[in-house]
């Protein structure tokens, strides 16, 4: 066994609304949509037209810059609408699914003998390639790159995150097959990380059949589960290098492709947060309309629907469709009520990493937080706050300042290639001055990509 990597810096935000380990399956909805916006940097070119009948696995659109990257339809049925926004930008491709799904059938190669190239070809043809993403920049990997390593993080430490052990357990065989596929792609540099919290459901014994990959055992609070933190500690990215990563749920989808010869895009999504009456897991289709998932599930009141976790997720509404990579929905109350002398109160029910509120005396309490900013944006005053929640050998504030100054050389020196927005989410959460840390990091990455 590899030695344990202990993450000391970080914080687990304990919220009400953890999903109970029960999975309910939803019927196939009567409308599905795939949103090109889910894929950063991708410029969509349509492969279908309105009225066309397609099978599940048929490409809906491809990337203008790399036509090999194709995004498949999760269902069979009729393309009913292409929703466009400003400048005719494609927002959604809506499909009316058949009651009984019909699939394109793909060949199932023998993994032991198949060459790396033929596996890549199958992944590209089926569209499953789009599940493999790269660092830096977090977009779909370029199939012609040779990655430094491939990472699969088998645990999620974000607030209210789904228990990935529980999800993997449901389709262990497909997961193992998917790992075997990645093993072939990685040229012997596949890294799988596991955590104390998922130890019972997923352990080294699950991977014994394969020889090349390495299992890493992590311990410690969020953001230990972020693949960026794991890459930083195991195979840090230098300028010019890329590392691929893929979510375990997407590994399962690739496993299905190789075992069944078809693209079956069901996923298990955790329905979480204090706005949910009974938080649990639901088995849904990629692109499913959120209202069909949330029907009869929410409390009365003014709530915010978030696709993803509460730190990095995207604000959404029940009219929206489930995003391509999403594994979690979080519903929390909006905090749009002013609070009389709120900064002066003892604060037994206010969560703060500083110990300026009395709540620090009850560390095990879990909170019912709302979306209030708890104060206004100010100039940067407090120091050392970000460092306490960023388990990387990086000076966060200096990196942010380099980004604001648009100093590319300095950004590179300070480690911009190793980070992504999600790794800085906790920094943003703790910030006294309420600075938009993730937005700045994203601007930095976008800038360096466009200039570099």
């Amino acid at each position: 066994m590899e030695k344990v990597i202990t993450i000391k810096k970080g914080y687990n935000i304990k919220l009400n609304g953890v999903a109970e380990k029960i999975t309910s399956s939803l019927d196939l909805p009567n409308l599905i949509a795939i949103k090109p916006h889910d894929f950063p940097m991708l410029i969509p070119k349509l492969s279908v037209e309105v009225g066309q009948e397609i099978l599940a696995g048929h490409p809906l659109f491809y990337d203008k810059n790399n036509p090999l990257i194709r995004l498949p339809s999760p269902v069979s049925g009729e393309v009913v609408e292409i929703v466009r926004g400003e400048k005719r930008r494609i927002l959604e491709i809506r499909i009316l699914p058949d009651k009984i799904p019909k699939y394109i059938s793909f060949p199932s190669p023998n993994l032991k003998e198949a060459a790396r190239e033929s596996i890549i070809d199958l992944l590209l043809e089926s569209g499953c390639w789009s599940y493999i993403r790269q660092r830096p920049y977090c977009f779909i990997a370029n199939p012609t790159d040779i990655p430094k390593a491939i990472f699969v993080s088998c645990f999620d430490t974000a607030p209210l995150a789904p228990d990935l052990g529980y999800i993997i357990e449901q389709e262990r065989a497909n997961f193992q097959l998917g790992i075997e596929v990645l093993d072939k792609l990685s040229n012997g540099h596949l890294h799988i990380s596991i955590h104390d919290s998922t130890k019972e459901k997923i352990s080294e014994s699950d991977f014994q059949e394969f020889s090349h990959h390495k299992i890493h055992h992590f311990r410690g609070p969020h953001p230990a589960g972020n693949v960026g933190i794991q890459i930083h500690h195991i195979a840090p990215i230098q300028k010019g290098e890329v590392v691929w990563y893929i979510h375990p749920q997407d590994v399962i989808i690739i496993g299905r492709l190789f075992s069944e010869g078809r693209y079956r895009a069901h996923r298990t999504v955790a329905l979480t947060g204090s706005g949910v009456i009974h938080p649990h897991y639901v088995r849904v289709m990629t692109g499913q309309k959120l209202s069909t998932i949330l029907e009869h599930q929410l409390h009365e009141g003014h709530y915010r629907i978030i696709q993803g976790n509460i730190l990095t997720g995207k604000r959404s509404s029940s009219d929206d469709f489930l995003s391509f990579y999403e594994n979690q929905l979080t519903i929390v109350p909006e905090g749009n009520e002013p609070q009389f002398l709120g900064w002066l109160l003892p604060g037994l029910h206010k969560l703060s990493l500083s110990r300026t509120f009395l709540s620090w005396l009850t560390p095990d309490r879990s909170y019912n937080l709302n979306t209030n900013t708890n104060g206004e944006e100010r100039a940067f005053v407090m120091t050392g706050q970000y460092d306490k929640v960023l388990p990387m050998n990086i000076y966060p504030v200096h990196l942010l300042k380099a980004i604001l100054a648009k100093d590319i050389e300095r950004m590179e020196d300070l480690g911009i290639y190793e980070v992504s927005e999600e790794d800085f989410a906790l920094c943003e959460f703790v910030c006294t001055s309420k600075i938009d840390v993730q937005r700045i990091i994203k601007e930095g990455l976008d800038y360096i990509r466009s200039e570099g």
Partner: protein, 385 residues
């Protein structure tokens, strides 16, 4: 509070864009957000935020300053009555000091906040909370005999030249309160040094006792260190000095609050104390053997207790804006403050309060310290490749 909210909502339109008092929006906004944490919700990035904000941060520092303030008020009365040889109750000592100190605090806040509001209105930015702490630090670092016009001058100087010309709270590179004190110290030396530390307003039927001397320990020790007050008096603060600085004990309580809440950097506080001790010990080792009363012989830990060292290390050096920003940098910054304080005290009798000057000096050097730390960090990152 519902009434207050309704009142605010009813007058709010006048201060919004296009309203009659649009210009005064920053002032109105400051008042409104003081009463109510605004109903702003997260727009991008994280959907929830830590409960702390700058108001809470500054409020915590004020809580940490309360022990020094209360003790300082009592000590003003105590020193006054001691000078006249009058025995009065603890409460009387406190009340005497309370009425002497209160006007200084009121002037400091009124003038300082006034300047802040004017700047906020002219430059159309929000009123920042920084002055809540600065406004209390200024009185605490003054002698009780300070004329009120000088307090007002200090408050103006500190807000304008210490902060606003750089862009306001968070942009300044020197501690504003200390800058104000240094300004008064060099501009009006007669009011800031010498026989000014005790309020000697006349006491009916009493005259000054013979043993009274206006010299603080910092002045005394430069000629003969054995003549300074007892260790216990210096620790508890039964000595003359600026209003808030005398009691090392009260500062320790403040340090405890700052460190527990995580608002003050424990690295800076500890390293300041360590720096002073180390330099004190070094000087002990180098002290001339033939002059046993030479200040270099002063026991090293006396420097912790004399004058405003504890106050400076706990409340002034820890100002996050003007201190070093990196962790390693904070250690270096604190150590150097401690060392320079002792050097200034021992070798430069003209400036007895070395801690003020050494903190200001290190404020200037803090960016350089951080620069060196970051360059080293970048070198190490490259080596990892």
């Amino acid at each position: 509070m519902k009434i207050a909210q309704n009142l605010i909502q009813s007058v709010k339109p006048h201060f919004e864009k296009g309203g009659r008092f649009e210009k005064f929006h920053p002032a109105f906004d400051a008042l409104e957000t003081f009463l109510f944490v605004p109903a702003h919700t997260t727009a991008s990035g994280v959907h929830i935020r830590d409960a702390i904000d700058l108001k809470r941060t500054m409020f915590t520092v004020i809580i940490a300053l309360v022990p020094t303030l209360l003790f300082g008020m009592w000590n003003v009365g105590y020193q006054h009555h001691l000078a006249y040889g009058v025995q009065v109750s603890m409460m009387d000592n406190f009340l005497f000091g309370f009425w002497k100190v209160l006007p200084i605090i009121v002037v400091s806040y009124t003038v300082g906040l006034g300047v802040e509001f004017i700047f906020a209105i002219i430059r159309n930015h929000q009123v920042s909370e920084g002055y809540l702490v600065t406004g209390l630090l200024i009185p605490l670092t003054m002698p009780v005999t300070i004329p009120l016009w000088m307090v007002a001058l200090a408050a103006i100087f500190c807000t304008v030249l210490g902060k606003e010309i750089f862009g306001g709270t968070g942009m300044n590179f020197m501690n504003p309160a200390l800058l104000a004190r240094a300004f008064l110290f060099f501009a009006f030396p007669a009011y800031m040094s010498g026989d000014i530390w005790t309020d000697l307003s006349s006491e009916n039927g009493h005259s000054l006792v013979d043993a009274y001397s206006g010299a603080t320990n910092l002045v005394t020790f430069d000629t003969d260190f054995t003549k300074v007050g007892t260790v216990s008096d210096m620790f508890w603060g039964f000595e003359q000095g600026s209003i808030g600085e005398t009691s090392a004990f009260a500062c320790l309580i403040g340090a405890f609050i700052l460190i527990v809440t995580g608002i003050g950097s424990w690295q800076i506080i500890v390293s300041c104390f360590v720096g002073a001790l180390v330099m004190g010990l070094v000087l002990n080792g180098l002290a001339p053997v033939d002059i046993p009363t030479h200040p270099m012989h002063t026991p090293a830990y006396y420097h912790w207790l004399m004058g405003g060292f504890a106050f400076g290390a706990v409340y002034m050096a820890t100002d996050p804006v003007s201190a070093a920003h990196t962790e390693v940098g904070k250690w270096i910054y604190g150590l150097l403050i401690g060392m320079f304080t002792v050097i200034l005290r021992v070798f430069n009798p003209a400036y007895p309060e070395g801690v003020m000057l050494s903190i200001l000096l290190m404020n200037v050097f803090a960016p350089l310290i951080d620069h060196i730390v970051i360059e080293q960090h970048i070198k190490n990152r490259k080596k990892r490749a």
